[in-house]
């Protein structure tokens, strides 16, 4: 506490911000961040006009519909909590897979020469320019029956092998085949694949700085003392980058919570996420902005809760 207090004045002196400047900045942040959120919050208490649009109001019906169903207390429906669960599930798995793949990549890049590192980073930065739409379009073709993976697997004889081996009923149950062919869309598999692919470059970019700052002599010292590579990774490298790793995971997780295109294209409806139903409520046939807003507020609260819990867990250890 005393250290922080001692450090604070020089920092403030170094950047003398006039009072009106700070006020303007606060106002700008409030306008850009708080105002839209407040609007969504207020709309979420609005009332739906059946067969029409909606009006301002002060009802909790939208939240009740989210957690208990539209017909509560006659019937309980958990459609929307289920959608929320899938939002969290895909985002968490997508972030975890992307980090698991990006870690060795970023690690390998930091071991290269300066010039090679720069080339790799430029390449990965360039791939960031691919939006979700492009990525999804690309995988849509790659997973298609006539032009993609199913066609190649058929040509290689894998499809017939699986058919002869009696695997097809199981694959159909897993959403990965129809009676004639293997099929990869729509499925949870295709969704996770696309999501992982979308955030993979972000994961590499996020992990590269901490990994490149890591002092190589630490790992070398552990090696010379007889630790095997995996043990060095587990006891030296991973603990050293634990905080950046958690931070990256949270960032990717929050980013993927908002994934929309990948879900609409690749996810079967029973596994779709809240983003789809939010859009549907606000811009779809029912013009039910209050219910869409209520769903958004719940999604936002969940994201905040996850961040808070993960941050606490990360700091405590």
């Amino acid at each position: 506490m005393s250290v922080a207090a001692a450090e604070a004045p020089p920092a403030a002196a170094a950047l003398p911000a006039p009072r009106w400047g700070r006020l303007a900045l606060t106002g700008l942040v409030a306008l850009l961040c708080a105002a839209p959120f407040l609007l969504v919050l207020v709309i979420s208490f609005g009332e739906k006009v059946e067969g029409g649009s909606w009006t301002w109001g002060l009802t909790l019906a939208n939240y009740e519909r989210f957690f208990l169903g539209h017909d509560w207390p006659n019937a309980l429906s958990l459609v929307y909590p289920q959608r929320l669960w899938f939002s969290v599930w895909y985002a968490a798995l997508g972030a975890a897979f992307a980090l698991a793949l990006a870690f060795p990549c970023a690690w390998a890049i930091t071991r290269r020469s300066r010039r090679t590192q720069a080339a790799w980073l430029a390449f990965i930065l360039a791939s960031l320019s691919l939006s979700e739409v492009f990525v999804v379009m690309g995988w849509d073709v790659l997973l298609s029956r006539n032009s993609g993976l199913p066609a190649w697997l058929k040509a290689l004889g894998v499809t017939d092998m699986l058919k002869d081996g009696g695997w097809f009923p199981l694959l159909i149950e897993w959403d990965l085949a129809n009676p004639r062919d293997l099929k990869f869309k729509t499925s949870g598999f295709a969704t996770l694949l696309a999501m992982t692919y979308i955030v993979f470059p972000y994961a590499v970019i996020l992990l590269y700085p901490p990994l490149s700052r890591l002092d190589p002599s630490l790992a070398e010292a552990a090696r010379t003392m007889g630790a095997r590579p995996w043990k060095v990774m587990r006891t030296v490298v991973l603990p050293a980058v634990r905080l950046p790793l958690i931070g990256s995971a949270l960032l990717l997780f929050v980013y993927l919570l908002g994934a929309y295109v990948a879900v609409t294209v690749f996810t079967p409806p029973e596994k779709q996420t809240l983003t789809v139903t939010i859009y549907d409520a606000v811009r779809g046939q029912t013009l039910d902005a209050p219910f869409g807003a209520a769903q958004s507020v719940v999604l936002l609260a969940t994201a905040g809760l996850c961040l808070w819990a993960a941050a606490r867990a990360g700091v405590r250890r």
Partner: protein, 358 residues
């Protein structure tokens, strides 16, 4: 090239000239009649700009300014906000029947029309002229069918929608529209429940949705964008389902394995109407446009150039049988549009729960 240079003096001179021209041109512009007409963007809007609006301008002297509008009720939100701001983005908009019903319920969005100024609308089937408590507010523009499609290389054409429920042929093989209001419930009601009227009660809705649940194992793709289904048929990801009749015909003409079929129960027919915005000051021009659009020649023109079904009998137009079959067919299922609004939340939630269950 050297004398074509931007100099400050040159720019001033040009500016002065332009101002002078504008001053002379202004009264002439004010006198010319114009109309802002909305239509769904892309190919659809382009076809209107290329084929329909010029013919209208030639016939009446009224210029048309094309406005891109979405196909769905969210245009109502835009119009509502614009009305509050005191300006309309389009004088005439194109609305589906469900959207007009919704606009009519919301109120204050559509301006009643003087039917005597739209004589050609009298020849249309009365179903396509929409009247609410304030008067006639919508005149049919064109219609389209969402029909049964199959891949003829993979399966023989079904005679009934009921065949789609056969898992031995169609397990994980169909593409069906995802939206609860895409009229698939009307298809189910027409096939199994005696007609779309069955959807007017909660029990009927539940029965139809339960029937849809039985189809789930056969649906590989619940499509939300038209292009998704197009790609899925082209790529062989699905071998049948629901899709637009006219686009299926165009795809087949391009050599893709797709056939649009009218099974014995028929296909749902939806239609778009021209509606005048409440704040518009162009009522006379709008009515002239609606009259032009209702004429048999214009209906035939739209069928040929845009692929929409005419709103009057083929005999009243000069369409050949082949031209007519490319855009229309029989029987037509007329969806239970009122039910979609009367039981809006119930229907949507029952449908969503069906989709969410595995």
């Amino acid at each position: 090239m050297s004398d074509f240079r931007f100099t400050r003096r040159g720019l001033l001179r040009t500016g002065a000239a332009a101002t002078a021209v504008a001053a002379i041109g202004a009264p002439a512009l004010a006198q010319s009649r114009s109309l802002k007409v909305g239509s769904y963007g892309g190919y659809f809007e382009n076809s209107f700009k290329q084929h329909v609006y010029p013919a209208f301008t030639a016939a009446t002297g009224i210029e048309v300014e094309s406005v891109t509008q979405p196909n769905g009720p969210d245009w109502l939100v835009t119009m509502q906000q614009a009305a509050m701001a005191g300006q309309v983005p389009a004088d005439v908009s194109l609305y589906g029947r469900e959207t007009i019903l919704k606009a009519s319920r919301i109120g204050g969005l559509l301006k009643p029309l003087d039917v005597s100024a739209i004589p050609a609308a009298g020849a249309l089937d009365p179903y396509f002229v929409f009247e609410d408590a304030t008067g006639v507010v919508g005149v049919g523009a064109m219609s389209w069918f969402v029909s049964m499609v199959v891949n003829p290389d993979e399966v023989t054409a079904p005679e009934s929608w009921a065949e789609f429920w056969n898992s031995e042929v169609y397990a994980s093989s169909l593409g069906v529209a995802r939206n609860y209001s895409s009229n698939f419930l009307d298809v189910i009601a027409a096939t199994f429940l005696g007609g779309p009227e069955a959807l007017n009660s909660r029990d009927g809705i539940v029965a139809a949705v339960e029937k849809a649940a039985e189809l789930k194992p056969n649906v590989a793709l619940w499509w939300s964008a038209e292009s998704q289904m197009e790609q899925a048929m082209k790529n062989g990801d699905v071998i049948g389902g629901t899709y637009y009749h006219d686009v299926a015909g165009l795809m087949a003409a391009d050599g893709f394995p797709i056939a649009s079929i009218f099974p014995k129960e028929g296909n749902p027919q939806n239609y778009g109407s021209w509606c005048l915005a409440e704040g518009s000051e162009k009522q006379a021009e709008a009515q002239a446009f609606m009259d032009f659009s209702s004429q048999p020649e214009t209906q035939a023109l739209m069928s040929r150039m845009i692929g929409t079904a005419p709103l009057l009998d083929r005999e009243k137009t000069d369409l050949t049988e082949a031209e007519f079959a490319a855009v229309s067919g029989a029987p037509a299922i007329r969806p239970a549009f009122e039910a979609y609004l009367e039981h809006e939340t119930f229907m949507k939630e029952t449908w969503e729960a069906m989709l969410a269950s595995s």
